[in-house]
């Protein structure tokens, strides 16, 4: 038997090259994104009271899709028949230990030896290496993407990314991958912990001291960069008409003078000689607080603690963070009702729990508001939601840790595809994070444009048809294996039903489903037996390439079509 193989299009990084090319759309593109916040939509006045309706499969899917970057059939099976409380407990229980750190994947290439780190070992504690810095950053990003793709059924990856978006730093500016990793670990370790403590640590985190010039902030030459973002972006925000003042920025900068980075120790330290020992006067926004100037080795920490106390006495911190969580987990329109019924009571929970994050998330994710039908299927998937979700939806087999070079090659590829569709882990566009979470009035719609939407579809198509073949590993969706795990793949209705549950939160109409079934599974015919017969024929003779292809080609075309639907971009 002859076999003509299609040339492997996604090999040799043609795909990636293509993804990075400018789109050749000829038509004048008329951006249909919001020109004003959509306030005309149906509204809900539900609040944070616990959801008391049915917690059925649809509710389970809604919860999982918002917290786990997309779901697989096995995720559904894993959580099936659990109560909302049980599922939430599971989602909000994260491992104590950090994952294994990123490894030297680059020295498998003889041209890139690392005198300090053997191939396959971690570089996170090694001496800085200007020549290998770029490689290490690539390693970090691929490692992170790998953790997302291998996410466990808990909220850790989703929250780690939340804090990265919140305390945004750019690895290309920090230029020390060890600092970047340390900063990342701080966010990961505290992702469900105490927000106040997290802010305190971020203030003296070496990556942040580099990124926002805190390391250059001295009594003789105060640098206000970090002090401004600390207030504007990290804590109190600018949502209130009367917020912090320029004097507050200068005063906070003085509080934070004297912090230094230590490259050798991969740490930060306080230099009392560079610290401004004068009293720091804040505005009425902070109740005219005066932070008493100190000197000596503990001055930095003492004044920092005072600064935290002052910031967190301002209730706006709790509301500001709850609004960000809301936009990350629910929807971007925060109208008067949402502010009153969700944000304010949630902020109270936050404060009453001394800024512990977990109780806030728990309250939000089990609220009647979260499960309100109006708040379902309205989130446009972020690039990580999309790509990790794609892998989860199709149970994409990933390379294991047995071959580091192979594994990193694929994770790095995945990370680069994610970057090409608008989310470069480790390098958000600015200190404000990704505009999709703050840019009014478009918000999530900014993820989707004439460049990124075709690229999303190309990613799905590439993984379905040709795969990415590197280092003797073919990263490719196995549609037959996928549907073989479904409840009853020989029945085209049940097969589609299972597939649609995983892929869509926005339901397709019954007539659309019939058309899809007929066009893709029944070969343009009307009766279900066409699929059932073909499936049975292959099952009866699994080694027969022709029988296998008869069903597999239909599944590939089906899934290409489904992932190409606008509904697939929603979760």
């Amino acid at each position: 038997m002859k076999q003509l193989s299609r040339r492997k299009f996604f090999e040799e990084s043609i795909a990636l090259k293509k993804l990075n090319e400018h789109s050749t759309i000829k038509a004048a593109y008329k951006d249909p994104s919001n020109t004003q916040l959509p306030r005309h939509l149906l509204k809900t006045s539900t609040g944070i009271a616990p959801y008391s309706g049915t917690f059925g499969e649809e509710e389970l899917r809604h919860l999982l899709k918002r917290t786990l970057f997309g779901i697989s059939y096995s995720d559904l099976t894993y959580f099936k028949n659990k109560s909302l409380t049980e599922v939430l407990n599971s989602l909000l229980t994260i491992p104590d230990n950090l994952p294994e750190p990123p490894l030297n994947h680059y020295s498998y290439n003889p041209a890139l030896p690392d005198p300090d780190v053997p191939a396959g070992s971690t570089w996170v504690n090694a001496p800085v290496s200007p020549t290998l810095e770029g490689q290490r950053r690539v390693s970090f990003k691929g490692w992170w993407a790998g953790l997302q793709f291998n996410r466990q059924p808990n909220i850790r990856e989703k929250m780690t990314l939340f804090w990265h978006n919140h305390f945004a730093t750019e690895s290309a500016i920090v230029l020390d991958s060890r600092f970047v990793y340390k900063h990342h670990s701080l966010l990961r370790q505290n992702c469900l912990g105490n927000f106040k403590e997290l802010v305190r640590q971020v203030c003296i985190d070496p990556a942040m001291l580099v990124y926002l010039n805190g390391k250059d902030n001295t009594k003789t030459a105060p640098d206000e960069n970090f002090a401004r973002e600390l207030q504007e972006l990290f804590t109190v925000g600018k949502d209130l008409p009367n917020h912090y003042t320029e004097e507050d920025v200068r005063a906070a900068a003085k509080v934070l003078t004297g912090w230094r980075i230590n490259r050798n120790g991969i740490s930060s330290s306080f230099d009392p000689n560079a610290h401004d020992t004068g009293n720091k006067q804040f505005s009425a926004f902070y109740n005219n607080t005066v932070i008493q100037g100190r000197s000596g080795s503990t001055a930095g920490t003492d004044e920092l603690n005072d600064l935290m106390t002052m910031l967190f006495n301002q209730q706006e911190v709790s509301k500001y963070i709850c609004r960000k969580l809301y936009r990350y987990f629910v929807y971007y329109v925060i109208d008067e009702s949402v502010e009153k019924n969700v944000i304010e009571p949630l902020a109270t929970v936050f404060r009453n729990n001394n800024y512990q994050i977990k109780p806030v998330l728990e309250t939000l994710l089990k609220s009647e508001h979260f499960f309100d039908p109006l708040n379902r299927a309205c989130m446009i998937k972020s690039p990580s939601d999309y790509l990790v979700g794609l892998a989860r939806n199709f149970q994409l087999a990933l390379p294991g840790s047995g071959n580091i070079q192979q594994q990193y090659t694929h994770f790095i590829y995945a990370q680069q595809v994610m970057a090409a569709i608008g989310q470069d882990l480790g390098d958000p566009p600015s200190v404000a994070g990704w505009p999709s979470y703050y840019e009014d009035p478009q918000f999530y719609e900014l993820w989707i444009n004439s460049d990124t939407l075709p690229k999303r579809n190309q990613s799905a198509e590439g993984l379905l048809y040709t795969g990415f073949n590197r280092q003797n590993f073919l990263l490719k969706i196995d549609t037959l294996q996928l549907v073989s795990g479904f409840s009853n793949p020989s029945n085209p209705n049940e097969l589609l039903n299972d597939a649609l549950k995983i892929l869509f939160q926005m339901p397709l109409s019954a007539s659309h489903i019939q058309t899809v079934k007929k066009s893709f599974l029944l070969g343009g015919q009307e009766e279900d037996h066409y699929w059932t017969d073909a499936w049975a024929a292959w099952q009866g003779n699994p080694g027969n390439v022709i029988l296998k292809n008869a069903v597999e080609s239909k599944l590939k075309d089906l899934f290409k079509y489904l992932t190409g639907l606008a509904e697939y971009q929603l979760c």
Binding site: Y29, L374, E527
Partner: protein, 523 residues
Amino acid sequence: MDRRKFLRTSIGSGLAPLVLNGLSVNAFAESPLLQFLGKSNKNRIAVLLQLNGGNDGLNTVIPIDQYSFLSNARSNILIPEAKVLALTGTTKTGLHPAMNELRSLYDEGRLSIVQNVGYPNPDFSHFRATDIWLTGSDSNQFVETGWMGRYLDLQFAGFPTGYPNEEYPDPPAIQIGAMISPALQGQHASLGMSITNPSSFYQFVNGTVDPAPNTPAGHELSFLRLVAQQTQQYSGSVKTAADKGRNLSSKYPAAGTNSLADQLKIVAQLISGGLSTQVYMVSLGGFDTHSAQVDVSAKENGSHATLLQKISQAVNAFQDDLKLLGVDDRVLGMTFSEFGRRIKSNASLGTDHGTSAPLFLFGKHIKGGIYGKNPVIPQNASVNDNVPMEFDFRSIYGSILKEWFEISDTERTEILLKDFPTLDLIDGSATGYYEKSLSKKLIVFPNPTTGVVTIQFENQISGEPISLEIFDMQGRKQELGSLQNNSDNGIFRLDLSHLPAGNYAIHLQQGRRRWTEKLMKVD
């Protein structure tokens, strides 16, 4: 079967069509005419109509001369002989009574019938047989690309990288339907753009999308659909063509009553709008007529009749539209189905999966007539009896590639994965370089002839040398025999007694001008 014998038995047989206008390019494969006609024509369009389910060929193109044995085999579904539509020029073959419009097209020479199309070792599974037809593979061969995809890959080198571009602004192929046919799968990507359904097409033209609920999800869905609509790579060029294009025929059935007609109407609109897309694929399902394919009380009616009527009305309206739009010169259509049905009917007023079946080709430049013979029906057909293959379906594909798309023999062999004999399907005037009206200046009579023919050449230029050649259907030059030339009045008398029976092409050239005419030799 060798090629020569193949042609003789198919076209040269007594059932050869009488409607034979003009001359095929094929006949001049080695002649200067090919050069004259130009080597390729990007403006030509093929429209492929897929009939999903396996069409009952014996109740579509009816072998009237086999009626008594057919009656033995399928009396419960056989169309009453009196109802069968007669075709001009033959008493042996007729059409199902639901296909009045196709009968007219046939009589006008714009519809050809190719009998008994199939392939060796036929497969009876819908999916597999469909894949064989769409990929153009052997029965036991697994091919990932489609036959049209392989053709288009040659035209659109490296597709999709770098497309669309200024030279190739339009989609290589368009599929009307959610699923893009495997026939359009190329090496790297499918060369087909899908227009999911007629309503999505008209939404696209109008820049609208399906209504969505006034909820956050509905709001975002509409946004996404609008982006998706605009970011289809070819949205600009297709929308431009759709805006410029029109439909002029009043023969289309009401929208929503004949999905094939609805699809072809879009194709006509896009063609008339100037889209340079070369291949369109449309489809109609429901041909898997295991039961109740006829009404028990009136066998000329029933589900199969309804389907055939849809084809007939859709093709007729489409052809009428193309003519009114002035683009019929450029369009060729072909129907196909994954298999025919069993000779012997079953007890449920239906037919089970079979093998070979007839297909239709239509268009202004189709030669017309019937290719091949009526299937021979056994006296007492058993459930295992099937219509034997006369033409491999890839011969039809090859003919389209060779005569319509005018690609080289090497490329044709590459596309079809091996060499298949081609038929002589296309009228030579299809190129537009060769005006059909010119042929009227070359009059050949009697035609058919048993030997001596008179050739009248009306507007010769005095003093310019004239060359007269005669070719068989494989383009091979024949001995002329004795030639009497009265150069004053432009009349030649040519004795062709020495030639075997069959079809020939007379080629006359004076200076840069060339004329051709078809001649049939009978014994």
